[in-house]
């Protein structure tokens, strides 16, 4: 990404507009417009500042919330696990000492950091956004350059509001055609990852473009950009357009009046210029996609739900074959078993991938008038308190609890099982989160990644099920929203 008069990509424009300092043989020093902070990856960074006698340069461009570690039940009581409590208390103490605004447990703006930023309107096109969390890529849905950083970098941004960075390469993922009615953004991104592999995006910023992407809502775009990291990419981006502006207008931190006009003027100049060259291009035909689920222990090990568990013996590449063998052993699956016959114990609806209001609405529409199967536990964990309140105002909580699901408070919850929401060893879940790694949702737990719609249908039958296969199982098709 060097300065040039030629046509430029969205990512190059955002990069160039944030270079604070460029010197031969050194990484560019980039300005950071927004730094999101949570309890798990920040304590050592604040300690670093304290030890060096440094302050936070721009507390007003920094925002903290509590999400990874917090319970989703009994949130008005002190956190039961003393180690979790210490970490959350450390964040509160650090934010108070350094003047960083914090939305703690109990606040109406608490929630998963990547749900909170967009809903406040603090994530905007053309910005650089970082957080000590890999799914910061979510914010790229707005046309921001947003990426996860480690704790040393968290300290660097706190102290300087900048980061030294080597340029990324650019990859266009063009999704042509139209998504079939029962195929969601989650299915699309799982299919993209299966296509390019968990290392396919390494070193790249992905730009999702094409007709199928332009038609997506902001929430669906966030689902897509969220999982860019599962393809190995640093960031994913989507060009800002009328959908983006409509989402932002009127949000608490969005500009207003003449500022709004100035902002829209700049935002409108950001999309990739015609003729701009990407380092790599991938084209996907949306019309051929089907509901997609993972069968293995990395997010690239996925297939259409109508397929069967693959046979490692048929995989030519030796590394992929042994990875598949290991995965099937861990997942306790037999090659040739139809995916739709895999039974689950738990359904998890939530996370920064699929814990927003549209996700809850889609799942509730399927559960309305139906029951969660006997022996299946379904956890519904809104991505933020605002999502929870909105869902309650629409009666969605009643649909979930009426079907036999648990309605929880906001947080990361079973996405990573740092709080008490975990799978027991050997338990199997259908999960709307983003990682099916061994033990991710609890030691020995087995995870199948799915869309909210597949999660809801799976809850009804107790085995991996696409909503279309619920025909014949009575239920109402709409929710009173």
């Amino acid at each position: 990404m060097v300065a040039r008069a030629e046509p430029r990509t969205l990512a190059e424009k955002v990069w160039e507009s944030h270079v604070v300092r460029r010197a031969e043989g050194e990484p560019d020093l980039l300005y950071i417009d927004l730094h999101l902070v949570h309890e798990v990856t920040s304590p050592q960074a604040f300690d670093g500042l304290r030890n060096a006698g440094r302050r936070v340069r721009r507390p007003d461009l920094t925002l903290a919330t509590e999400d990874h570690n917090v319970p989703t039940l009994l949130i008005d009581r002190p956190i039961a696990d003393p180690v979790s409590r210490t970490q959350v208390e450390a964040l509160r103490k650090n934010c108070a000492e350094f003047g960083v605004p914090l939305y703690p447990l109990g606040s109406d703006d608490q929630g998963i950091v990547h749900v909170v930023g967009p809903q406040l309107g603090v994530t905007q096109p053309g910005m650089t956004v970082v957080c000590g969390d890999s799914h910061t890529s979510t914010h790229g849905a707005f046309g921001a350059l947003a990426f996860g950083i480690g704790t040393s970098e968290v300290e660097h941004v706190l102290a300087t509001q900048t980061l030294p960075l080597k340029p990324f390469k650019t990859m266009a993922i063009t999704v042509e055609g139209e998504l079939p009615a029962d195929v969601t953004a989650k299915d699309l991104i799982l299919a993209v990852i299966a296509e390019i592999g968990t290392g396919g995006g390494q070193g790249y910023v992905l730009e999702y473009r094409g007709g199928a992407i332009e038609k997506l809502s902001m929430e669906a775009r966030m689902t897509i950009c969220n999982m860019s990291i599962e393809a190995g990419a640093r960031a994913g981006m989507i060009a800002p357009d009328a959908t983006t502006f409509d989402y932002l207008r009127g949000r608490p931190k969005a500009p207003s009046g003449s500022d709004w006009d100035a902002a829209v003027h700049w935002w409108s100049s950001l999309p990739t210029d015609p003729g701009a060259v990407f380092d790599r291009e991938v084209v996907i035909d949306a019309s051929r996609l089907r509901p997609f689920v993972t069968w293995g222990t990395n997010p690239g090990q996925g297939l259409p739900l109508s397929a069967a568990v693959p046979d490692p013996a048929q995989i030519a590449d030796p590394a992929a074959r042994s990875a598949a063998e290991r995965a099937l052993e861990y997942m306790d699956l037999v090659p040739g078993t139809p995916l739709s016959e895999i039974g689950v114990d738990t359904v998890f609806l939530g996370s920064c991938t699929n814990g927003r209001i549209e996700d809850l609405r889609a799942a509730a529409a399927i559960l309305q008038g139906r029951r969660v199967a006997d022996g299946v536990r379904m956890l519904v964990v809104p991505g933020s308190v605002r999502v929870r309140l909105q869902a309650e105002s629409e009666g969605l909580d009643q649909v979930f609890t009426g079907a036999g699901a648990e309605w929880r408070h906001a947080g990361c919850s079973m996405c990573l099982g740092m709080n008490p929401d975990q799978l027991a060893p050997g338990e199997r879940s259908a999960s709307t989160s983003n990682r099916n790694f061994e033990g991710r949702q609890g030691k020995g737990g087995r995870t199948h990644l799915v869309s909210p719609q597949v999660a809801a249908a799976t809850a009804v039958t107790g085995r991996l099920t696409s909503p279309a296969d619920l025909a014949g199982i009575p239920g109402s098709s709409t929710v009173n929203a």
Binding site: P27, D33, T86, P101, I149, A159, A263, R440
Partner: protein, 196 residues
Amino acid sequence: MEKFTTHSGRVLPLRRSNVDTDQIIPAVYLKRITRDGFEDGLFAAWRKDPDFVLNLPRYQGATVLVAGPEFGTGSSREHAVWALQNYGFRVVISPRFADIFRGNSLKGGLLTVELPEDVVERIWALTDSDPDAEVTVDLQSRTVDFANESVDFDLDDYARWRLLEGLDDVGLTLRHTDSVDAFESARPSWMPRTVA
């Protein structure tokens, strides 16, 4: 940060690809608020198996981890780097690293070296026949030496210089505060702030 110039040590062969950060250190071990003590969590789930390579007596004291491709995929947790360092590793060799893990490791002084798959295979084969065989990683010359081989590796000059000097990025950037001030004064006033 501790300087890194050259390191010789025995090898732990980890014959797996896609070793993700949840395997390197599961989330339940991330609750500590210090930078040390994370060795307990290193490969915690796999370590339950007495036959897991980390538990084999022949590899005790190894300081160079040699793994399959896509090492360190997953979360941005720098705890993964700390866990490896706290346990005693100084170098990780893999055909390919996830970007964030690689960035974290180089900032924290854990040298990550990308070598082609066939070289990784040869190092594994060497340690199979002789678990005491040493690998030498020289950052000055950017070479890895083992048995009778010497293989070059890539690392950009800037990252190499920082590691050789043991320099802290924050200190380096604070030398350019004037540039940051100038950039800030030109930012549009409508850009969002998190406090009212």
